[in-house]
Amino acid sequence: MTQRRVVFAAGLGWVLLVAACQNDVLNSPRVPAYQGGTMFQRYVAMGNSITAGFQSGGINDSTQRQSYAVLIGGAMGGNRFYYPSLNSFGCPPPFTNIFTGARVGGAGITGTTCLFRSPNIPPYLSNVAVPGAETIDILNNGPTPGTHSNPLTQLFLGGRTQVQVMMAAQPTFVSAWIGNNDLLGAAQAGDTTLATDTALFHSEYAKMLDSINATGAGAVLIAVGLGHLANNVVLPFFSRGTTWFGAISSGAFAPAPITVAANCAPPRGDTVLVSFAYGFGLVATASGGTPVTLDCTAPPVVEPAETRFFATLQLRYNAIIQAEASARGFAYTDSVNIMMDSLAAVLPAGSQFRPFPNVGAACTTFPFGAAFSCDGIHPNQATQLKIAQKIVRAINAKYGSAIPTP
């Protein structure tokens, strides 16, 4: 009898003690419910202006939210995807009309206008991409020689490098799309010597991948380019010399005193590329009353040999990336380039990639074609979505996951 009472009392006491404990619990990070979702709990995107969400010669919160990285982060459904949100109107604010120089925010806003970040400072960054970054900039900041830091490097990374910020975020998955600027800057200048040589590219790229490996995260590596140069797919930022020859010859910029040299005429003119910056820089000078001539042998013009160089360089970069991805078990995709090749071929011809911008048109009408924002280089919102879809498919194919398509 006594023993039963003791047992009863002990049992009652235990129940009371358990009832007296009211432990709070950790709020578990949301684990994506689809197949393979655990890998995508915390996604970090590295890269340059495309990844950051740069459009129409500027960047602000609206364009940042349209980045493929943000779309993928949302589709993955893991932890919140944080990007370094810029205060309105941006840094610099995007163009509303690239031909007049008008930008979001209206009068007084210029290409040097730079508003800082939102006061809602996230605990970590998921999108660590910085416009203008080349491969060397992933692990190095200015003023280190050879780097390309700019005010956005400070505003986004605060004195740290992309790799440091990526690692601080403790990612489970990383995307890296870097290398476009390693050849784009050289192409804009028409100077092959400014391109990053493949040895340096490989070295810096491998260091970046070592850092990703150190986190234990999975990764997708995105091929350099927005279309294959080898397939003659060229950003609408560049126009053929022939096109310029026709436009100037037909008086498209009259009464501005601009003339065009015969070396821009076909057939040679079909083989050279004139950048928007160079060509419309001359138009702007002429509009000021100073006579100018577009010469298709001038240094900024991309000559056939230079075009071949950049096309080969793109292929070499991508071969390096593909080999590294294979060696490290990461996903690699060239599908964005393939998609852009297809867009360039969409009929009516030039609807997606205009061969020559619709001069004077507002940015809302996509003067560089339906695939591009108002600078002829950066994808617009619709193309960013297509890019996100391509990358998600590539990830799912490699990892057997079922990330919903954005």
Binding site: Q22, D24, V25, L26, R117, I121, P123, Y124, G158, R160
Partner: protein, 472 residues
């Protein structure tokens, strides 16, 4: 005697890391009472600790009692972040709390005594890798009371006692300052009237970038009082109660700041307001040089003041002897945190640094149960259990005091070593309910909410008490 008092005060000045009761209250003021789970307001231990547990308990004392003891605290706890799942552990060392009581029965009815105890205090020490370092990584609150006490047996069934408490208070806060949440002076980036200043975080500085260390230290002495009464209903049953008044400390002290290197460099020239910072400028140089010159303008050594009130305690209890060798105890405790610890305002000589911490503490209730068995004239054994609420509301569970409701289990014994000497040994295990909390204060002195909570604090402790008593 003066040297002894000074020595004892020095001992108490080192009184550290105390988290064993509601809020920053401390109840482990005697080894015997510790074994009883702190019960005994109706029948205090005979070691002089009645000075704290019920001043009326000194009435009827025969001869004198002096007790010297120590309680060792092995505190373990930490914070686990929701997202990263990283756990930061409390960095408290093994701590020692000394106890001193002396009491004397002047007549069969009149008893007097003096005791030193610390009914309130805390120390929380965290590693400098913990995100809570920006709220405070080494926080100390000490309140040492010296209480001369007198008790009188008014009738054979009623005793009353009272003490005057001279309370020595000291508060110390060590914290890091986070550059990401520091305001850029409006002289550099003007803002419209009424708008919050721009933060360095808006220029990309990542959260968790230490750039300065702050050390705040202040002291104050104040006076309060303590009353108690015991009704002896019959030989078996006693009823007791006590009331410890609140004590308000208007602290005055100094704040000292020192620079902590960020080792960051501005990667490219950037324009901040009218100022252009060249590429390659070390952030530390930028902060320490004109026009900011932070460590010669804002973050200079200066006066700081704050006010903290130790709340009143009201305790009622019963002691019942079902058998001659057994005594059962039950105590109820009410602590009035709700009125006394609502906001904590830090006023600096430079008002730009002023801070308001919204604590919003709630009144707490605790229940204590214990039993004591006098085996023979030499040995007495005891054990107990107590449960009490946490004073901090869900939105103010912070690194300063991440407290919550607790279950505590105690056991101990007294052994008579000789006709004059006796020794007490006790053990107490504290298990605090895991509590959701935060590591940071809200920006711009805003009222915090539970939305800031991002992890769980857990805490438990082992306490070992030993004391030596002398009857004369």
């Amino acid at each position: 005697m003066q040297r002894l008092v000074r020595y004892v005060l020095v001992l108490f000045a080192g009184l550290p890391a105390l988290l064993p009761a509601q809020g920053f209250g401390i109840y482990e003021q005697g080894t015997c009472a510790m074994g009883r789970a702190g019960t005994g307001v109706a029948a205090p231990c005979a070691d002089g600790s009645a000075i704290f547990f019920n001043p009326a308990g000194l009435a009827g004392l025969k001869g004198g009692r002096a007790t010297l003891g120590v309680t060792l605290l092995d505190v373990e706890g930490g914070f686990t972040d929701d997202i990263s799942r990283q756990r930061s552990s409390l960095d408290d060392p093994l701590l020692a709390i000394p106890q001193v009581y002396a009491a004397y029965g002047v007549t069969p009815k009149l008893g007097v005594g003096i005791g030193l105890f610390a009914p309130y205090g805390l120390q929380t020490r965290w590693p400098l890798t913990f995100d809570g370092r920006f709220a405070g990584y080494d926080n100390i609150l000490r309140s040492v009371y010296i209480q001369p006490t007198v008790a009188y047996q008014v009738t054979p069934w009623l005793s009353l006692g009272a003490g005057l408490d001279i309370a020595f208070g000291r508060v110390e806060l060590n914290q890091r300052l986070d550059l990401a949440t520091a305001a850029v002076p409006t002289t550099i980036v003007p803002v419209p009237p009424g708008s919050p200043p721009v933060l360095f975080g808006q220029f990309g500085i990542a959260p968790g970038t230490d750039f300065a260390n702050a050390h705040l230290e202040a002291t104050k002495t104040t006076v309060t009082a303590h009353w108690g009464g015991i009704i002896k209903v019959n030989d078996k049953l006693s009823i007791g109660g006590r009331y410890l008044m609140h004590a308000k400390f208007d602290y005055e002290g100094r704040a000292q700041f020192s620079q902590v290197p960020t080792n960051l460099t501005i990667p490219a020239a950037i324009t901040v307001g009218a100022l252009t910072i060249p590429a390659g400028t070390p952030v530390d140089v930028f902060l320490a040089s004109p026009p900011l010159n932070l460590f010669n303008t804002v973050l200079v050594d200066q006066t700081v003041s704050t006010s903290i009130t130790n709340p009143e305690q009201v305790i009622f209890g019963l002691a019942y002897k079902p058998r001659k060798d057994w005594t059962l105890f039950v105590d109820y405790q009410f602590t009035r945190w709700g009125k006394r610890f609502n906001t904590l305002t830090l006023n600096f000589a430079n008002p730009l640094l002023n801070r308001v911490l919204y604590e919003g503490y709630q009144n707490t209730n605790g229940i204590r149960l214990a039993g004591e068995w006098a085996k023979d004239a030499k040995w007495t054994f005891r054990g107990g259990y107590l449960r009490h609420q946490g004073a901090a509301p869900p939105e103010t569970v912070t690194p300063l005091l991440p407290e919550g409701s607790r279950n505590e289990f105690t056991g101990g014994f007294t052994v008579k070593l000789s006709p004059g000497f006796s020794a007490d040994v006790a053990y107490q295990y504290i298990n605090q309910d895991d509590r959701r909390g935060r590591t940071r204060e809200a920006l711009f002195n805003q009222v915090p909410t539970t939305l800031l909570n991002h992890g769980v604090y857990e805490f438990h402790a082992h306490l070992f008490g030993v004391s030596l008593g002398y009857a004369f």
